[in-house]
């Protein structure tokens, strides 16, 4: 099997097991440029594990992940990031001790080597990029604030902003609106639609209202396998999906 190169991301035959338990089992799916794809599924379906496998946090035991025609499964994590894959974690993972500005600055894709970091200077390019992104994620007035003092929703945005500073081609967001208010969710949905130009977004989400707001296509996982894929309306009508969510 070879991946067709017109997909941004092609996941094929991906498997991993922990201790004999198959968390992800012969999984395949494809993500297009400019697409917002949402992965849903019951707890333990292997959703987070799929993101972990794509970004290299967990190593696959079989299968391939092809990103713009390059195989990712053998690359170390930082190389995967540099190839253009950004990952947000389930609980906001930011540097509480640093200011919002410094949080965003660390993600700036320059001076990533040891000596590059030593020589790194905060020039106007950096300031400009950080300003731009802060505006996008609704944090423009708070650049000097210590990240610790942000609200939960703002922390989620900050982490998304840190990914945007990297300018990734694929954003992977693990439950980005968890703990957000309704209005914050709306703003986040708008944000995702706005940033989708020139990239794709892969989202894990439970909140069906939010899924309906953002998803171009939905992939339903159950026990590490894809059981349905298509528009939200399509998967909602799929008897297998109904069985998984309502059955047993």
């Amino acid at each position: 099997m070879t991946a067709e190169t017109n997909f941004l991301l092609a996941v094929e035959g991906l498997s991993v097991s922990f201790d004999g338990f198959k968390a992800v089992d012969d999984l395949s799916f494809y993500v297009d440029q400019n697409e917002i794809r949402v992965i849903i599924g019951p707890n333990g379906a292997g959703k987070t594990t799929v993101l972990d496998l794509i970004c290299g946090r967990t190593r696959a035991s079989a299968g391939s992940v092809t990103f713009r025609g390059h195989e990712l499964t053998r690359l170390p994590e930082h190389e995967i990031v540099r190839a253009g894959v950004g990952r947000k974690f389930q609980t906001p993972s930011i540097y509480e001790d640093l200011s919002v500005f410094e949080n965003l600055e660390i993600s700036f894709p320059r001076g990533r080597s040891v000596f590059g970091a030593l020589a790194f200077r905060r020039d106007y390019l950096v300031r400009e990029r950080v300003q731009d992104v802060a505006g996008m994620v609704f944090l423009d007035g708070m650049l000097g604030e210590r990240a610790e003092n942000l609200s939960h929703g703002q922390k989620q945005w900050l982490e998304i902003g840190m990914l945007l500073v990297q300018n990734p081609l694929l954003l992977m967001l693990d439950e980005p609106v968890a703990g957000m208010s309704v209005s914050e969710r709306k703003k986040t949905a708008e944000l995702l639609h706005r940033i989708i130009r020139d990239r794709a977004v892969l989202v894990i989400e439970h909140d069906m209202g939010f899924v309906a707001d953002i998803a171009h296509r939905v992939t339903v996982l159950h026990q590490g396998k894809v059981i349905s894929e298509g528009s939200l309306a399509h998967v909602k009508a799929d008897p297998k999906v109904v069985e998984v969510y309502l059955g047993h």
Binding site: H78, G86, S93, E96, E102, A117
Partner: protein
């Protein structure tokens, strides 16, 4: 950013104050013997600076800094020993021209790894490089495999133990438990004279202040911020495109190279090097100097090295049986009661009062300033 330039200026000011203390005040106030002792303590300051970067910032606790201190010290000692073992000076030996302890151990030719140490240049390069290289090998092996925290601490401790046993066991090549002693001259310059000791003291002090400034530069660069970020959120840093292992390896090698320089200065000022500065106990004592002074403050750690060693000398002279009690209590207290060490005490209790005292001059500084520094450091 006015805040950070102000902070930078304040930190540099404190470093200059320290430089004045060790280069003007102490030399004037102390007799040559005591000054030499202070010089000896200051060599541990190099180790403490390295530990601040490696442990305080990056969160990598090495219980093997004695390895690097010792390696640096041995590199220097090997050069000095070879100079003291010229054919002329050792003609009564059965093999003239080799160090005396080799002759006592029936070794008849200089081992290959001793030969390059005829060259002072080689020795001076080896002093930071040999420790850094070993740290690099250990670091690559451990950090690339994500070994950290307590495992790393235990492994470094085991390596310290191995190296000590090896040095003691291979006395024909290393001088054994006595170490390399009877060092006399460097390029013909007698390092034992009072004058030489004074010169070496100042050389040591200048090197230490330079190291402080370099370390300060490293900490204020983006690299410094990444080290701290890595300690708090390793995965986030990794998934921002940084090779976390490379940064840890850098921090560890940097600390090792500094420790090596400290060791070499120790050898020069004290006149010998032995395995008693290499093993588990000295290594863990070095960590405690740093912890007492403040593991996240460069100057704090150096003052800690001075204070603990001074206390050790005083106690072991007068009340040797109390020393272990005092040291043990210090370990526990520094962890439980004041984890930020002397620097933390200064920051939390003295600096605010000083600040209030100096408030009129400092009004210009932004108000959030002191708090910000307190929390990030």
């Amino acid at each position: 950013m006015t805040t950070s330039t102000y902070l930078a200026r304040k930190d540099v000011l404190l470093i200059l104050l320290f430089a004045a203390l060790i280069m003007a005040l102490l030399p004037l106030a102390l007799d040559p013997f005591r000054l030499n002792l202070v010089g000896k303590y200051l060599t541990y300051g190099f180790v403490a600076i390295g530990l601040v970067i490696c442990w305080g910032d990056a969160g990598i606790l090495s219980l093997g800094q004695g390895i690097f201190f010792g390696l640096g010290g041995y590199c220097m000692a090997m050069f000095l020993k070879l100079e003291a073992s010229s054919v002329g000076a050792t003609k009564i030996q059965s093999t003239p021209g080799i160090p005396d302890f080799m002759d006592w151990n029936q070794i008849t030719a200089l081992p290959w790894f001793w030969r390059p140490f005829h060259s002072l240049t080689f020795a001076l390069v080896a002093v930071p490089m040999v420790p850094a290289l070993l740290a690099f090998v250990i670091g690559v092996a451990m950090f690339k495999r994500r070994v950290g925290g307590t495992y790393f601490a235990i492994i470094t401790q085991a390596i310290a133990a191995i190296l000590t046993i090896l040095i003691i066991g291979q006395q024909g090549y290393t001088g054994g438990v006595n170490g390399i002693t009877d060092l006399r001259t460097m390029k013909g310059w007698d390092i034992r004279s009072d004058h030489a000791k004074l010169v070496l003291y100042f050389a040591n002090a200048i090197l230490l202040v330079a190291s402080l400034l370099i370390a300060q530069f490293v900490r204020r660069s983006k690299l410094g911020r990444i080290l701290v970020a890595m300690r708090e959120r390793e995965d986030r840093v990794r998934f921002s495109g940084y090779d976390v292992a490379a940064f840890k390896i850098f921090a560890f090698c940097f600390a090792a190279a500094l420790a090596g320089i400290g060791g070499a200065m120790f050898t020069l000022q004290v006149g010998f090097m032995s395995p008693s500065f290499v093993g588990i106990v000295p290594s863990i004592e070095m960590v405690i100097f740093c912890a007492v002074g403040g593991r996240t403050s460069l100057l704090g750690a150096v003052y800690g090295a001075l204070a603990v060693n001074w206390a050790k000398t005083t106690f072991s002279e007068d009340l040797p049986q109390l020393w272990l009690f005092a040291m043990g209590t210090l370990f526990i207290a520094v962890v439980v009661v004041f984890p930020n060490g002397l620097a933390g005490l200064y920051r939390d209790h003295i600096a605010p009062r000083l600040g209030r005292f100096l408030r009129p001059q400092l009004r210009l500084a932004p108000t959030g300033d002191g708090r910000k520094q307190g929390a990030t450091r």
